[in-house]
């Protein structure tokens, strides 16, 4: 069974015969934005190899300071293992994306054709926003009955607004309008979070609005980190299909990131990221001591990142009974199925139109 591997240790990662080995290192990682940095490893290897079988590796998440060489890159490429890198502050920085093994010229042409035709592009972009909104609604509805008084009323009103926006989606005429609808809903949704989190959590983690680059407080740091995990998880799944990750429909293709992963991540964030955050904060698995302030921003500490990643990994392997396939599928597999739905749409947009994932539980 292949699984993502998360490396928090620093050291040297290398190919050892036909498998992977990490030589751990002692010492602290230095910040990546230090202008005096010589680019040399800031930690000392301990000389002991810790091999781990390459057959079990689906992808690598590298949170520590790791030295790699061409031999490793070639080996990862042969094995089709993508590696995701995070910087000192826990920001996602890069993906080592192996050569595509799943090529389908015709599918790629179809994907580009759907992007180039404004009408076809809009159909897909709308479907992404529609299911993102539906899943947000599901999360809100889960918490609504637990509230009372004014809070209950505010949430009620937000739900009505959301429903109205969702119903009006078929009338949206262009991508910027869709993006605006999505942004507005997310804003409104984040404003409800203090109610969902409850007074205890809010006392520890004040939250009023979403801010990025840098995240202004703990919750924003958590959302940013969660979203980056979601993005890489989706990317991992896209890599196993013939889809081209750079050609997207809701987001503009190709600039800076694999935009198709951003499109699909919108659909899964409410289920995977938002619910994870509520859980981690409400159970007090994460406390303010898991965060650090640097350079005017707030970041998860290494211990905090470990908790989030551990929980994330567990969450991805949770299963639900699939409604039509008559078997249980994991949350992670749901993302793959979403990729396949997209493939079906690209092959036959009329007969097998894409219907975004709607949480059914």
């Amino acid at each position: 069974m292949k699984k993502p591997h998360y490396l928090f240790s620093s050291g040297r990662l290398r190919r050892q015969h036909n498998t992977l080995a990490l030589e751990r290192a002692t010492g602290e990682r230095s910040p990546d934005d230090d202008p005096t940095d010589e680019g040399l490893p800031s930690v000392t290897p301990d000389g002991k190899n810790h091999p781990f079988p390459v057959e079990t590796v689906d992808s690598l998440y590298i949170f520590g300071e790791v030295d790699i060489n061409t031999k490793l890159i070639t080996f990862l490429g042969q094995q089709g293992i993508p590696a995701f890198f995070y910087d000192y502050y826990g920001y996602y920085t890069a993906t080592l994306y192996p050569r595509e093994s799943q090529l389908s010229g015709r599918l790629r042409v179809d994907q580009a054709r759907h992007y180039l035709s404004p009408k076809r592009r809009l159909v897909l972009a709308r479907a992404f926003v529609e299911s993102a909104l539906f899943n947000i609604e599901r999360v809100i509805k889960y918490y609504q009955p637990r509230l009372s008084g004014d809070e209950q009323l505010t949430v009620q009103k937000a739900l009505l607004d959301l429903k109205r926006d969702r119903d009006a989606l078929p009338l949206t005429v262009d991508i910027p309008t869709l993006m605006a609808v999505e942004g507005r809903i997310r804003d409104r949704y984040y404003r409800l979070w203090p109610y969902f989190l409850g007074t205890d959590v809010v006392a520890r983690f004040p939250f009023n609005k979403r801010e990025r680059r840098p995240p202004s407080n703990e919750l924003n740091a958590l959302i940013s980190f969660g979203n980056s995990l979601c993005y890489t998880t989706v990317l991992r799944q896209i890599y196993r299909t013939a889809l081209d990750p750079t050609v997207a429909f809701l987001h503009e293709p190709g600039d800076r990131r694999f935009s198709l992963a951003l499109d699909l991540a919108e659909v899964f964030k409410p289920l995977l990221v938002d619910r994870m955050i509520f859980r981690l904060l409400k159970t007090a698995e994460l406390t303010p001591k898991h965060f650090e302030k640097h350079l005017g921003g707030c970041y998860l500490s290494e211990a905090g990142r470990k908790i989030v990643v551990g929980h994330w990994d567990e969450r991805l392997s949770q299963t639900v009974q699939h409604r039509t396939m008559n078997k249980r599928v994991s949350y992670e597999r749901l993302i793959r199925l979403e990729c396949y739905k997209l493939v079906r749409h690209l092959c036959d947009p009329v007969g097998e139109a894409y219907q975004g994932f709607h949480m059914w539980w």
Binding site: S101, Q102, L103, S104, G105, R106, L107, R240, A242, H322, T324, M325, N326, V329, R333, R336, L337, Y340, K341, V343, R344, C347, D348, V350, G351, E352
Partner: protein
Amino acid sequence: MMTTTNSSKLRIGGMLVGYYRLCPRKAWLSMRGIWMEQESDTVALGRLLDEHSYDRSDKHIEINAEAPDGTPLVGKIDRANLKNGVLHETKKSRSCEDAHVWQVRFYLWLLTRNGVTRSDGSPFRGQLDYPLLRRTECITLEPEHTDELVATVSTIRALASQETPPARLLKRTFCTKCAFDELCYG
């Protein structure tokens, strides 16, 4: 037209014929370059079985031929006993037997198209081997099979130029084991 150039370049192989017999949709998707085999344990097991069985025979022989309508045909034969004139195809189980039988008949057809015969001038025979079941099945190519293969080649050509995939199978007995299951029904 784009579709005609596409289908004229189409090379039809034994696996594609087998796929077509099982499920035209699967054949259409694989012609599009959409493969699902890389993650299927069943397929990986089949490949291992082929690699590790019958090490003393001539294995993995490639043959090319042309159909009467000019379609290029290719065959990758698992193994052959050239002295006795027998083509072998190794399979894990008999669950898709009809497709397997037609795959072997297709290879036999390639040989006759190339005028290859046994030393005494009689046509090659085919055999399906099930090493795990310790069984074999004899296959011959009759004239009516040849006619059907000719018809299959032209149907597959037409399928290749189809813009959208054929419908999913209604009877899902085979699908649950198929590597394409999640792609079709997920």
